[in-house]
């Protein structure tokens, strides 16, 4: 077989699948967002084009605005602040203890990783139990310490889903920063120490600059992943109480499958994809230089 024909044949199954089940739904969403498609009622039998009506509705929809705000809060709280700082701290701690010959770091590493590899549904279940108002381990602990129990999944629902997501996702940031720290040659530190620079100086002058480029990539990566989070919040609060934890993905899902408005649900999905695209393009722009050098 000709090399070119072999290559075309090798690539086409993947491209075919991607076109049908990846790009296809994207196009379908755009199409559906211009219709009043529904799962019940007269529109279920005969959907018709409604032009930009769904988009006009989206702009006036206060529930949508709130879901965007909730998504931002969730991303900033659990990814940008929580996972990022906690993961960075863990990486620095584990690297330091390894270098200083303090044992036990691998147990910490394994514990953090365990939460990350488990299916998200299980995280949702475990934290539903942890957060239970009457019997949950957290409130038992608070009562034992003579503190008032907290209605985690009620009054503090957003805080609760943020804590659960930090627990679930911190491992990724930790692993990337740890592998970044491993690339800094130890001799540089030794040399600096011989010259009499303090630990803080070494951290500021050597560790921070070498981690800075991957820090941005990590940030965008966890932002995108957290923006798309769905199953964790679905199982913990289902968006409630009220709309307090209703992030965009849940709002699209509820609109389509609880209110049966497929057309408007698709409009929300399109808006979400557009927002995601902004992060994604920033992310790709960050990756570009490193990937290019790897290609040549």
């Amino acid at each position: 077989m000709q090399p070119t024909r072999f290559y075309v044949a090798g690539l086409s199954p993947a491209l075919l699948l991607l076109c049908i089940f990846f790009i296809g739904p994207g196009l379908w969403a755009v199409y559906a967002s211009f219709t009043n498609m529904a799962l019940v009622g007269p529109a279920a039998a005969h959907a018709s084009f409604v032009g930009l009506q769904n988009y006009a509705h989206l702009l006036r929809d206060s529930a949508f605005r709130q879901s965007v705000g909730n998504s931002l809060l969730f991303v900033i709280g659990s990814a940008v602040i929580g996972q990022f700082l906690f993961g960075l701290g863990l990486a620095l701690l584990l690297e330091y203890t390894e270098q200083a010959g303090i044992a036990g770091g691998n147990l910490v590493y394994a514990a953090v990783l365990l939460a990350w590899v488990s299916p998200v549904l299980i995280s949702g279940f475990l934290w539903t139990a942890m957060f239970d108002y009457y019997y949950g381990t957290l409130n038992m602990l608070r009562v034992a310490l003579d503190m008032q129990p907290i209605n985690w999944l009620g009054n503090q629902a957003m805080l609760a889903v943020i804590i659960a997501n930090i627990w679930r996702g911190t491992a990724f940031t930790m692993m990337v920063f740890l592998s970044g720290l491993k690339t800094i040659p130890r001799e540089i530190y030794e040399a600096a120490r011989m010259d009499g620079s303090s630990a803080w100086d070494r951290f500021r002058d050597m560790t921070v600059p070498s981690l800075a480029p991957i820090a941005l990539i990590v940030l965008l990566n966890i932002t995108i992943a957290t923006f798309g989070a769905f199953a964790l919040i679905l199982t913990l609060t289902n968006g409630g109480p009220g709309l307090k934890t209703e992030v965009i993905s849940l709002y699209a899902y509820h609109t389509a499958f609880s209110s049966y408005q497929i057309g408007y649900g698709s409009t929300i999905a399109v808006a979400m994809l557009a927002l995601n695209l902004v992060f994604a393009i920033a992310y790709l722009a960050m990756l570009r230089p490193s990937t290019r050098s790897g290609e040549s």
Binding site: G10, A14, L18, L93, A129, F227, N238, G265
Partner: protein, 276 residues
């Protein structure tokens, strides 16, 4: 230079707090799964039994769900491995214009969250008659992991020296034969990563089954788990003992597979830089 004792003490306290934070929920899970009276708090059962597990199979039809999940996850794995192997080998070796753009296109697709595309996937699958169908589940599960896994696998192929197969071509072997007989054995760890990750993804994934399956006989483990946990969306009293046992059976294959392929998996994941 050994750190001071005080510092070591502080570090071990930090270690203990971190480990407790991450492990306590799992500790509760293991105890609840063998406790017929399990509640939301940590409690060591007086008489641990396997009664909860027996209930799963007798009253909750969990055997069918396990069978469905294994069927879907293994089929997805085989399909993914074949499609990814050919596509990423091609992208590794073929010097064609537009390849860089294609690779970026794949990365872009990979960043699109399934939670945003699930509504249109439902619509499309309904149009194509792929709801309540194993074929639909396998095809869609395989596809959503393709962009990431092609990146991962391309990295493995890139590290296989071209001279190896060029020698095989000289001997008159076809491209396909040299790929199968020379290159794939060298890139086997990569294939193991792809197989492991695609199985894990299909096994754990719940969003698709949530929208694609409502036939009782076709429900997979994650869907069964979700429905038993949140009965018909009712956020009422959870039967912790039953759901904990389910969670454990849902979790065990994940942990086993992860432990077996851990070293390769971590390497593969960073080859493709994938988010949490």
């Amino acid at each position: 230079m050994r750190p001071r004792f005080g510092l070591i003490l502080i570090i071990y306290i930090a270690f203990a707090v971190i480990i407790l934070f991450f492990v306590t929920p799992f500790l509760w899970l293991f105890l609840a799964a063998v406790d017929p009276q399990a509640k939301a708090f940590i409690h060591v059962p007086e008489r641990p039994t396997l009664e909860n597990f027996r209930l799963l199979f007798s009253d909750f039809g969990f055997g069918t769900a396990l069978g469905n999940s294994f069927l879907v996850a293994t089929s997805t794995m085989f399909l993914t491995v074949v499609v990814v192997a050919f596509a990423s080998y091609t992208l590794s070796r073929w010097d064609v214009r537009g390849k860089g753009g294609l690779m970026y296109g794949l990365l872009l697709l990979q960043t699109m969250p399934l939670s945003a595309t699930m509504v249109p996937i439902y619509g499309l699958a309904r149009t194509l008659g792929l709801r309540n169908s194993y074929l639909g589940l396998v095809l869609i599960h395989a596809t959503i992991e393709l962009p990431f896994l092609i990146w991962v696998m391309k990295g493995f192929f890139d590290s296989v020296p071209r001279a190896l197969e060029e020698a095989a071509w000289m001997d008159g072997r076809s491209r396909a034969r040299s790929l199968l007989e020379i290159v794939l054995p060298v890139a086997a760890p990569g294939l193991a990563v792809v197989a492991g990750l695609s199985f894990l993804a299909a096994w754990s994934e719940v969003l698709l089954v949530l929208i694609l399956v409502d036939n009782e006989n076709m429900k997979t483990v994650p869907l069964k788990f979700y429905e038993t946990f949140r009965t018909q969306g009712g956020y009422v009293e959870v039967r912790y003992e039953v759901v904990a046992a389910m969670a454990l059976l849902y979790l065990v294959p994940v942990l086993l597979l992860f432990l077996l392929t851990r070293r390769y998996l971590v390497r593969g994941i960073f080859g493709g830089t994938r988010g949490a």
